[in-house]
Symmetry: C2
C-alpha cells in the first residue's frame, strides 16, 4: 500500500465474511462469548438493539398484544407433546441436568422457543370465546445449540421477541399472522431499518417445526445473499390440541383454538450490518440510530471551540436529534472521524476553529460521504432535514441494490445462475422436488413464495405464485 | 358468611403469606411455572415491571453506565477463579451438561450473576487509565436454584439488572457504589415506588459472595418483616485479580482495577405488593402505575354513556394520564370495580347514566378508598392533581407504618421483642457473635448497619453505628 493508508476493514469485494467480522470488531459491536456460539453485545450495538426493541414493541402493542414473561426452563416432556416440534428442535437443545447441586429427576430444556410452555398457560387462561383472541408477546433470550455459529446471524443464545396468540377461528389466526408480518415486521424493517424486505410464505420444507404456514420477511445482503429477518407462523390446531387450548363458543359448544407465533431477533443486527455496511463500516439509518448526529470538535487550541460545539450539541438535542458530543481533542480528529464512520453515525457535524471564526460548520453525511459547509445558526434545522433525506436515500439505495440483482427467470438453470449474485424469481409451477434438490446442491433455496406483485400468497392459486430463490445466511 | 360477602382475599391479619398468594392469583399478577421455582409474569404485572425497568434504566443511564449484553452460559471454570464467589454460588447453580445432542466437554453454568464473564471482557477492554471508569449494565434473567421458592421473592429464575463497573482507585469504586445505592435505587424506590427504604451496609456474614462491602436498601413489608430491595457491592480487587483487570496509569505503571456490582430484580414486585397491598388487593403508586386511571362505564342502557366515557378517557390521555377505558358493560359494575381494586389502579373514574345527566362523574382513589363527585368538565385536571396527592399520601402512609413499627432499643432482648412486629434499631457495639447467633435462632438478622441519622456508614466509627434488626424475606 505504498503511500496509501491501509484500509481499516477488509474490502467487501475481497472477502465479505471477513469484512463482516472486521466491522463487528472495529466498530466495537460484538465479540464471541467464551462458550461456543454465544456472543457479547457491546454498548454501541446494544443501544441499536434497544432502539429496535422500542420500535418493534410499539408496533406490537399497537397490534393489541400484551407483554408477559414465561420461564427459561421448560420440562422436556412439554416439547414431546407436539411431534414435529420436538423433532425439529431436539438436535439444538441445551439441557440442564443438575440443579442446586443435585441430579434433576426430569431434565429441563433451556427454551429454544416457548410455544409449549405458553400453550400450557393459555389453556388455563382461556375458558370462553370472550377470552379470545388472547394476544401475548415476550422479550427474552432463547438457546439453540449452533454448530456453525456466526455473531448475530446464528448464535447459540440470541435475544428476540416471540408473540403467541390464540384465536377462535382459522381465519382470525391467519389474519393476525399476516397483520404481524405486514404491519409490524415489514413496516419496521422498511420504515425504520430502511431495508426493503420481500414478504412471502415458506415452502413446506422450510416451515417452523409445528407450523401449518410460515410467513417470512427476506432481505438482500450486500453480497446478494438472502437473510430471513423475521417470521410469522400459523400453527393451526397443532399446539391447541397438544395443550388442550379449547373454549366454549357462543352456543355453549366446546371448540379448539387456532394459534399463531411470530418472532424477530438480534439476527436483525446482522441484517443491518450486511444490508447497509460499506467498506468504511456500518451505516445506520437515522430513524434507528441511537446516535443520529455526532458533533466533533476538530481541534481546540484556545479552548473556545469545545464550548461552541457543546452549545451546538444542546441545540441539536432541543431540536429532537439524538446527538453526542465528541470533544476528545487529545485524540486526533482523523482517527475520531474514522471511528464514527465505522460506527455508521448518520451525520457528523465538524466544528473547527477556522470554520467557527467564519460562523460555519461542516456537515458530513455517512450514507453517501458528501460534506457541506453550513452556517452555524441554521444547523439544527438543517440536520433535522438532512436526517430525513438520509433515511429516504438509504431505502432508495438498498432497493436499487436489491432490484438490480433480482432477475425474473423461467428455468431452474437460469435461477441457479441468477442466484450466484442475487435473487431469482422463478414461476413456482416450474419447481418440482428434483428442482429443489438440484438447487440445494448449489446451496440455493426457495426463500419464499409470493404473488407476481410481491405480496403474500393469500388465496392466490399455487401455479400463479413466484418462488424467490437465493443463497442465504 | 351469612348475609355478608365472602372476602376476595384472605385478610392480611389472618394469614399474610396466604394473602400474598391470593393477591398474585386474583389480581392476575403471576403463576408458578412448571419447573419448580420458576414463575410466569402475567401481563398486568409485567407492565408494572416494564415501568420499573424504564424508571431504573433512566437513572442508570444518567449515572453514566451503558447497557450491554453478556452470555447466559458461563464456563464452570470462570466461577472457580474467585474462591468466595464459587463457594457462595455453587449450591444454587443450574448446570447444562448436554448441548446439541451431545455431552459437553466442559459443563456450562446458567449465570447466577455475571461478575466473572463480564470481568473476563472488561479485562480485554481496559488498557489504560483513559478507559476508566468503565460503567456497564445489563438487563437479563439469572438462575439460582431455590429450595423454598416464592413468586417474585425467591424464584429459581428472576429478571434483574446487574451493573458492573471498573475504576482506577478504591475511592472511585466506593463513591460509585454509594451513588448507585442512593441516587439510583433509593431515589427510585422512594420517589416512584413510594417505599421509604432504609439504606445501610450489610454485616460481613451477609455480604455478596466476593464483595468487600455490600450496601443495601431495606424495606418494611405489611407484616413488619424486612425485604432487601436492592444491593450495591464494592468488590475490592477480588475480581480484578481473578480476571487480571489491570491498566497503565498516567505514569506508565501497571495498576489493578477496583470494581463494583449492583442489582435490583423482579423481587421489587414482591416488595411493591407487600409494602402497599391491603385487604382489597394491590395498591400501585401513580408514578409507577402502567394504568394510572381507569374510566369505568357503570351501566349503559341507551348507549350514550360509553361514548361519553371514551371521550373522557381520551381527554385524560391528552392530559398525560396513563388511562384505560373499561366499557365491558355485559359484566356487572361491582365485579369490575372489585377487579380494578384488586389490581390497585390508583384512580377510578366511574361514569354512570344518572351522574352523566347531572354533568358529573365519581372519582374514587384506591389508596384511602374515598370517593368524590366531580364536574365532568374539570375531570382531567382534577385527576392529574389527585394522582400527585395519591403518590405523596402513599409515601407518607408507608413511612408512618414503618416508623410506628420501628423501635430504638438498647439490648438484644428488646431487639428480639421489637423484631416480632417490626424493626429494632440496636447500637452495633452491643451486637457480638453470640448475639447474632441468638437472633438467628429467632430468624432475626441484622438487615443493615447505618448511622444514627439513617445514612450509609461511610467513615463513621463502628461503635457509633446502629444495627437495624428484623425478621426478613
Amino acid at each position: 500500500m505504498a503511500g496509501g493508508k491501509a484500509p481499516v476493514l477488509t474490502p467487501r469485494s475481497e472477502d465479505f465474511p471477513r469484512w463482516y467480522q472486521d466491522v463487528l470488531n472495529k466498530a466495537e459491536l460484538a465479540d464471541n462469548g467464551p462458550v461456543r456460539g454465544t456472543m457479547v453485545i457491546r454498548p454501541y450495538a446494544y443501544a441499536l438493539w434497544e432502539r429496535m426493541v422500542a420500535e418493534v414493541d410499539t408496533r406490537i402493542k399497537a397490534a393489541g398484544a400484551e407483554n408477559a414473561y414465561f420461564p427459561l426452563f421448560i420440562p422436556e416432556s412439554y416439547l414431546q407433546r407436539e411431534a414435529e416440534h420436538v423433532e425439529g428442535f431436539s438436535p439444538e437443545l441445551a439441557i440442564v441436568t443438575v440443579g442446586g447441586g443435585k441430579e434433576l429427576e426430569e431434565p429441563v430444556v433451556v427454551r429454544p422457543t416457548s410455544e409449549t410452555v405458553i400453550g400450557e398457560f393459555m389453556a388455563k387462561w382461556i375458558q370462553s370465546y370472550r377470552d379470545l383472541p388472547l394476544l401475548l408477546n415476550q422479550w427474552a433470550n432463547v438457546v439453540r445449540w449452533e454448530l456453525r455459529p456466526r455473531v448475530f446471524l446464528r448464535t447459540s443464545e440470541f435475544l428476540w421477541q416471540e408473540g403467541h396468540t390464540a384465536h377462535a377461528t382459522e381465519a382470525d389466526a391467519r389474519d393476525y399472522a399476516e397483520f404481524i408480518l405486514r404491519s409490524v415486521y415489514r413496516d419496521f424493517m422498511v420504515e425504520v431499518l430502511a431495508i426493503p424486505v420481500l414478504v412471502g410464505a415458506k415452502i413446506a420444507e422450510e416451515r417452523f417445526a409445528g407450523a401449518t404456514n410460515t410467513l417470512t420477511c427476506e432481505a438482500m445482503m450486500g453480497d446478494g445473499k438472502a437473510l430471513q429477518m423475521g417470521t410469522s407462523h400459523e400453527l393451526g390446531q397443532n399446539f391447541a390440541r397438544a395443550f388442550d387450548m379449547s373454549y366454549l363458543d357462543e352456543h355453549g359448544a366446546q371448540q379448539m383454538c387456532w394459534t399463531t407465533s411470530w418472532g424477530v431477533s438480534t439476527r436483525m443486527m446482522g441484517g443491518l450490518i450486511m444490508a447497509h455496511g460499506d467498506d468504511a463500516g456500518l451505516r445506520v439509518p437515522p430513524r434507528l440510530a441511537a446516535t443520529q448526529a455526532v458533533v466533533l470538535v476538530v481541534r481546540d487550541d484556545d479552548g473556545s471551540v469545545t464550548p461552541a460545539a457543546a452549545e451546538l450539541a444542546s441545540s441539536l438535542e432541543r431540536a429532537g436529534v439524538r446527538v453526542r458530543l465528541d470533544d476528545r481533542v487529545s485524540t486526533g480528529f482523523g482517527r475520531r472521524a474514522t471511528e464514527w464512520e465505522l460506527k455508521g453515525v448518520p451525520v457528523r457535524v465538524e466544528v473547527g476553529p477556522r470554520d467557527l471564526a467564519d460562523g460555519q460548520v461542516v456537515v458530513a453525511r455517512r450514507d453517501d460521504g458528501t460534506k457541506v459547509t453550513q452556517p452555524l445558526g441554521g444547523t439544527p434545522e438543517a440536520v433535522v432535514a438532512l436526517l430525513d433525506d438520509v433515511q429516504a436515500a438509504m431505502l432508495v439505495s438498498a432497493t436499487e441494490a436489491r432490484d438490480v440483482r433480482t432477475v425474473d427467470v423461467d428455468s431452474v438453470d437460469d435461477a441457479l445462475e441468477a442466484a450466484r449474485t442475487g435473487f431469482a424469481r422463478l414461476p413456482w409451477r416450474l419447481v418440482d422436488a428434483p428442482a429443489i434438490q438440484r438447487m440445494g446442491s448449489s446451496a440455493v433455496t426457495v426463500r419464499c413464495l409470493q404473488t407476481v406483485d410481491g405480496d403474500l400468497p393469500g388465496t392466490t392459486p399455487a401455479d400463479e405464485l413466484v418462488a424467490v430463490c437465493a443463497r442465504s445466511y
